[in-house]
């Protein structure tokens, strides 16, 4: 057990002390913030206003709550996965710089090494993503706070689930990487692509039907929607309370992917949780199987 703990500590320290790796992991949220500051905020604002029936007046606080909720949910949903990928690149860098060979000259089991990479990535990712979440809360408190205590707790649990998902997904992919070039390529693809396919950069409602149906097979989509529901649920409740028609609220919910449709069938929050947890369990199984097979092959 102590070997596992010391290895995990080593991995966390290596990630946090490698400024390049930390910076790379923060590139996606930074890009999102820049996009938001330059034009996304206005796009979101206009989208909400377009969904309002004529004659409806909405307070700036509610609009800001909606815009802030969408931004923050996108940021958190993407960061949990991209930060996990960057933190987990350590397992590839250990191969590149020979550290893995050194570790394997000891009697440590490969499964202990794999588990330590996983645990360290979860912790490193959680640290960064929880800080990002706290900053999001501060932002929402300034612009328009509609969250309940339960919402905050659910958002934190979403961060944990998405982090577990991002970590195991990256662990599987990184197992097959063995060079710095591959790290760069995968890092770039994930940073640039994941935000799109999980509906964080652009709501799925704006995609064509084929793409929309295709991304519904990806677990990340459900993770994004979970965070979005919990980030924006308070605003929708407030809108309902002050007399917005249910269809207007539903229209806005649909436009920001709070309501997901799997081939026109509505997906409940419970199912979203089930998909995410099942995906994590399945991927952990795949990761264990890969390590088991590779361990056998090495012998």
């Amino acid at each position: 057990m102590s070997t596992f703990l010391y290895l995990t500590k080593r991995n966390i320290k290596l990630f946090l002390k490698d400024k390049g790796m930390v910076f790379t992991s923060l590139i996606t949220p930074l890009i999102l913030l820049v996009l938001f500051a330059t034009f996304l905020a206005n796009v979101y604002r206009d989208t909400f206003k377009q969904n309002l029936p004529e004659g409806f007046e909405v307070s700036d606080k509610i609009i800001s709550g909606l815009v802030g909720g969408e931004l923050c949910s996108s940021l958190i949903a993407v960061s949990c996965v991209t930060v996990a990928f960057c933190a987990n690149f350590l397992m590839v860098q250990d191969k590149v710089n020979g550290a893995r060979d050194d570790l394997l000259t000891s009697p440590v089991k490969q499964s202990t090494l794999a588990l330590a990479y996983y645990a360290a990535t979860v912790i490193s990712t959680l640290v960064i993503c929880l800080i990002a979440t706290a900053l999001c809360f501060v932002y929402l408190a300034i612009t328009g706070w509609f969250l309940t205590f339960a919402d905050v707790m659910l958002i934190l649990s979403d961060v944990v689930i998405l982090t577990l998902f991002g970590t195991v997904l990256s662990a599987i992919i990184n197992t097959f990487l063995s060079s710095q070039g591959q790290i760069t390529a995968v890092g770039t693809i994930v940073s640039a692509g994941y935000g799109f396919i999980c509906g964080a950069y652009m709501p799925l409602s704006q995609f064509g039907a084929v793409v929309r149906n295709a991304v519904m097979f990806l677990p990340g989509t459900y993770g994004t929607s979970l965070v979005r529901n919990h980030m924006m649920g308070g605003v929708f409740k407030e809108m309902t309370d002050i007399g917005f028609p249910a269809e207007v609220v539903k229209g806005i919910s649909d436009s920001v992917d709070c309501n997901l449709y799997f081939f026109d069938k509505s997906v409940s929050i419970g199912v979203m949780y089930a998909v995410m947890l099942a995906a994590v369990a399945l991927l952990v199984g795949v990761y264990v199987a890969i390590n088991f097979i590779r361990g056998k092959k090495a012998k």
């Binding site: 710089n97 000259t105 090495a298």
Partner: protein, 306 residues
Amino acid sequence: MDSEKIIEIRNLNKTYKDVHAVRDLSFSVRKGELFAFLGVNGAGKSTTISIMCGKISKDSGSVIINGADADGAPARIKSSLGVVFQNSALDKHLTVYDNLQSRAALYGITGDNFKARFKELSELLHFADLSKRSLGKLSGGQRRRIDIARALVHKPEILILDEPTTGLDPQTRKLLWQVVSDLREREGLTVFLTTHYMEEAADADYVVILDGGKKVAEGTPLELKNAYTHDYINVYGGDTAKLTALGYPCREVGGAVRISVPDTAHAAALIAEHRELFTDFEIFKGNMDDVFLAVTGKELTGGEAL
């Protein structure tokens, strides 16, 4: 197994796709000796070491280290081995202390046990003042000392040095060998060395030379020199024409005439017979470079076969 033998490898074979990296290799290493394993790049040295360390599997043959079979007790073998890689495999962003702490934990050495071992090693290798510095900020020689400390952190009985001095300046090389020599004296450590520097191999107790995955020669440096090289007589201020007329291969080297003779007995007889030609001379044996060249037809110079 012979109780004196700490490493015993028999009929080892390893193939990568269509490359037969190790072919029917057998050798043994005695406890406490400095064993040199020589060969050009691709000769099979690294493959053999990787099999010994349990990093890769063998196709056939047996590997017994410190009484444990690689097939049955790899963990026991790994606990017996300390490896110094050609390039440092430690974490450049971590401090010396953190590096050794994480590596010691791999062997279950933690807490006060680790602190005590760290103190011992820092005194032995003189790096107490470096403990809080990042590895990446150390000089090549300082880093090498930490690499050795890492290899010794669990008190192994065998130290594998995989081209440990390649790329190091002469002063650091000298320091490293001084440390290794002290360790052998103090701890009775067995040292398994691969190197491209023949003068290092000349100090070994036993040498095995590999070529194309096969063992092509083995013995003590003296046995190898006697078997594969000539003796030489350097004659200073001699008459080149008369010396050449003796009928042995001659060439001028650095102001001397160098005569190649089959062995020391021939040299002694030749000098006794022609005292007038040998007024200022020295007799010496061929070196390990000559042995390597004679055995493999290749020269080892800083990592490349010529």
